[in-house]
């Protein structure tokens, strides 16, 4: 028997080799893609949502029929209402960039393959490869090459989404009737003229259907892209799904769908407009007559927005990038710091990631600061790894705690007592998501104390819901709890003593900035360094968020209510002009 071909090894070697030798190339690619995405995001976010929606609708009105515009308006307002505007814009930028790249590369390739059988035969398996090689497989190398963020997301989208454009451009070209090609030739058309004047216009419908597929597929990659740190609505979906929140997942998914439908209608209209010129004035009574102004006005508007956004960004140039991990507690602290910084005139950009990438980003200088280093336990694995590239500014919150928690009205005080009272609690401890550190420790605890109770799995939200229900009926309940958590503000709770220390020692949360940040932004760094608050403060903010405020609102409220604390944080810092 033939031995197994060591393909896996070859590939790993190749990836390493590429990583070692092609870095400049990857940097060039990165430097081309990143600004494009930023460009789109910038001009789309330079105005507040409603203003932006108006402008967009105005253009849609120009390009298409009235009811498409109405539909788009409804969709965009829904996105805004659901609160996914910013994320949607980021997603849109990502999709526009990938689609743009896919079209710029795909259409020429498609044309080539439409005119040359050999190219077609050569491309076909490659296209198959691009569409079916699971994105997960090349996302990892993509991260090696381009580091986390939007760029590998765009690249993955392009790889997955480009084939339809190529395939259908080729197909469209091949379907152009031969006698029309001949006619063009008979008049001495160059290959190029034949393409632009005859073949492409006639293949237009098919090509656009391909482009439409490219847009759809590129949107369908949004969630996958977010797995490697691409910002946008995909991240929301991913987050909600890992938390089993179908509703929110659907909501945010819907935002993607709305973008898809609007883009689809636009490309579709582009298609029809060309097909039947002159005779559609009955359907667009509104702006049809001024249609000729659409192009120049569009150019001017985009120019204006661009200038404004880059002018603004002139101020924002040394924007502070705060990165945080996707936990409610860190959300609270980071938003609070952000609002304080902004009040003092420092522009701030927030980046939400997983724990690993957070440390990575600071270490590589992709982000400036973070407030979320739970040490020595939780963040240890990352902290230890990147330690030499981080600057630790010290604690911003002391004494976090994990343990079993009961309402104050429960009459036991120690875990040891629990074993004998377990029937009171139905022999259940209400836990959270199975994978979390808290749960592991809770299990250990049950074992160590021989509690013989069942640890129920669920989620943070489910646990609080259960607590709420019991609390209202004053029923005994025991949950896995940790501080800071807003439930301690809302309910009268207490930790059960843990004589065996199975839940470990309390941790502190540290502030960490990148190397060189102090030199670059001494004032901001000082303020970040001085940021310090208590679990109670944090819980205040978290509670407001849990009750429905946005993190920003909650943070602002806290800042207003605690002027003294804020003053301490900003003490000795010069306002930024």
């Amino acid at each position: 028997m033939i031995p197994k071909i060591p393909l896996a090894e070859w590939i790993e070697w190749l990836v390493n080799w590429l990583q070692d030798h092609f870095d400049p190339v990857f940097q060039i690619i990165k430097n081309m893609i990143e600004p494009t995405v930023t460009f789109f995001t910038r001009i789309l976010t330079v105005l507040p949502p409603l203003a932006m929606i108006s402008i967009l609708i105005f253009f849609i009105l120009w390009l298409t029929q009235i009811w498409t515009a109405v539909l788009s308006l409804a969709g965009l307002l829904l996105i805004w209402n659901l609160g996914y505007w910013d994320e949607s814009i980021q997603t849109l930028s990502l999709v526009l960039t990938s689609t743009l790249i896919a079209i710029i590369i795909g259409i020429p390739l498609g044309l080539w393959s439409g005119r040359n059988d050999r190219v077609q035969a050569f491309l076909k398996p490659i296209l198959d490869f691009m569409q079916t090689m699971p994105a997960f497989v090349y996302l990892i190398p993509a991260v090696f090459f381009f580091s986390l963020g939007t760029v590998p997301g765009v690249i993955a989208s392009v790889i997955f989404a480009m084939p339809p454009t190529i395939r259908f451009t080729s197909l469209g070209l091949r379907q152009v009737p031969i006698d029309l090609k001949e006619a063009a030739e008979a008049f001495g058309a160059t290959t190029r003229q034949k393409l632009t004047k005859v073949e492409i216009p006639l293949a237009r419908q098919t090509i656009l259907a391909g482009v439409n597929q490219t847009i759809m597929l590129s949107l369908s990659m949004v969630v996958t892209a977010s797995m490697i740190g691409a910002e946008g609505i995909g991240a929301v979906v991913l987050e909600s799904i890992t938390r089993l929140k179908v509703g929110i997942g659907f909501e945010s998914g819907l935002a993607i769908v709305i973008i898809a439908i609007i883009l689809d209608r636009l490309t579709q209209n582009l298609n029809q407009n060309r097909m039947e010129t002159g005779s559609r004035h009955r359907q667009i009574p509104l702006l049809a007559k001024t249609r000729k102004w659409a192009a120049p006005v569009a150019v001017l508007t985009v120019l204006a927005l661009t200038i404004t956004s880059y002018a603004q960004s002139g101020v924002k140039r040394n924007e502070i990038k705060l990165i945080y991990v996707n936990w409610v507690s860190e959300e609270a602290s980071t938003y609070t710091l952000k609002n304080i910084l902004e009040k003092e005139g420092f522009p701030v950009k927030l980046i939400r990631v997983d724990a690993g990438p957070m440390y990575d980003a600071i270490a590589t200088g992709n982000a400036d600061a973070m407030l979320a280093a739970w040490l020595p336990t939780t963040g240890a694995q990352y902290y230890d790894r990147y330690k030499k590239d981080l600057v630790n500014l010290g604690v911003n919150l002391e004494k976090t705690r994990i343990g079993l928690v009961v309402p104050k009205y429960v009459n036991i005080n120690s875990i040891e007592e629990l074993a004998s009272h377990k029937d009171q609690f139905d022999q259940k401890i209400i836990g959270i998501d199975p994978g979390s550190g808290t749960m592991l420790l809770a299990k250990e605890t049950i074992k160590q104390y021989n509690l013989g109770m069942k640890l129920l799995e669920g989620s943070d939200a489910a646990m609080v819901a259960e607590l709420d229900r019991a609390y209202k009926k004053k029923k005994p309940i025991v949950i896995t709890g940790w501080t800071p958590h807003w439930m301690f503000l809302k309910y009268d709770l207490k930790y059960l003593d843990d004589p065996k220390k199975t839940f470990g020692e309390p941790e502190n949360i540290y502030t960490i900035v990148r190397k060189g940040f102090k030199e670059d932004q001494p004032e901001a760094c000082k303020m970040i360094d001085q940021f310090f608050w208590t679990t109670r403060d944090m819980e205040e903010v978290m509670l407001d968020v849990a009750n429905g405020m946005t993190p920003d609102q909650a943070a602002k409220k806290w800042i207003e209510k605690h002027p003294n604390q804020v003053a301490e944080i900003t003490a000795g810092v010069q306002k930024n002009k």
Binding site: E182, A183, G188, A189, K197, R274
Partner: protein, 398 residues
Amino acid sequence: MDKLEIRNLTKVFGRSPKRALKLLDEGKEKEEILQETGCTIGVNRATFEIYNGEIFVIMGLSGSGKSTVIRLLNRLIEPTDGSILLDGRDIMKMSAEEVREVRRKKMGMVFQKFALFPHRTVLENVEFGLEIQGVMKAERQEKAMNSLELVSLHSYADQKPDQLSGGMQQRVGLARALANDPDILLMDEAFSALDPLIRKEMQDELVDLQQRMKKTFIFITHDLDEAIHIGDRIMLMRDGTIQQIGTPEEILTHPANDYVKRFVKNVDLTHVITAESIMKPAESIIMGKDGPRVALKKMKENAIPTVVVTDRNRIVKGIVTAEGLKQALEQNLLLEDILVADCVTVSKDTPLSDLLVLMAESEFLYPSIVTNETGKLKGVIGRGALFSAFAGYGGEKE
């Protein structure tokens, strides 16, 4: 001067042209070869010339390779063999660039199946050739509009081709080719869908273009009358081979073989043979110089019953008959008094059929006088000559 020289031009459609050619050499028929190899003989070793400024008509059964020849001329299809010299240069050896130049400047084409661009308006279709050449928008629109007016479709300029009727579409194709103003126009059944009135107009336009602008036309048609009417020379094809090339008269009067004969059988030759070819030199006297006696003498010398009277420039004035002369001599009348001025006078390219009608209307009383364009005397045609011509060319009628 030869505009185009075609040498040994061959085109075989299908996968194994070599085998088909071999079978062809062995004398197999086109249909046999098709059965055997799946190859169709398009054109089979055609050698001919097209002169500068002529209207060269190609005729033949359907499927005989006419369209194939014409498409080979501007290299829309690559020949299996043979060469085509345009003004002495071999088109087959030209680079793509050069071929493109030729197509832009020298050869226009009207397609049998129109081949209009459905995504362009009528005007944009007509502009196409000029657009390709990079002519500015205003200029090319003007030219295209002129061209459209020529085919009377200017009011449809903004419609799409599929909104037009078949004949209108064909005219758009015509206008598109004309707008380019090429030296040579390849016209593949360009008038087949036109009604008689417009067709006549177009034919005249063609002849006019040929005469005024010295353009060369290669014209495929199935209408023998049209071929004879506008063609300087006619080429007859069958199953890819050339059967005969010649002027309409040559072909009609001396068909090279049975096929040609059968092809032209239904043509009334009398529509083709002209007065010139059967006229006799005319005996004439000059008014004001010669008198009745001179006339009588000439009649007697030549044993003819009439004599033509001209002025000193040989402009025809009329004829005098023997009876008239007798009367004049008897009653001493002047030549003017016995002159028959309303005799039939035709130009030398009047077809016999017309002549017959004219003479029949005048009850064959006098012979017809044939003049050139300026009215000068060229000859006469007597009743006898006419009748014997008819007996020879009258064609078989069923």
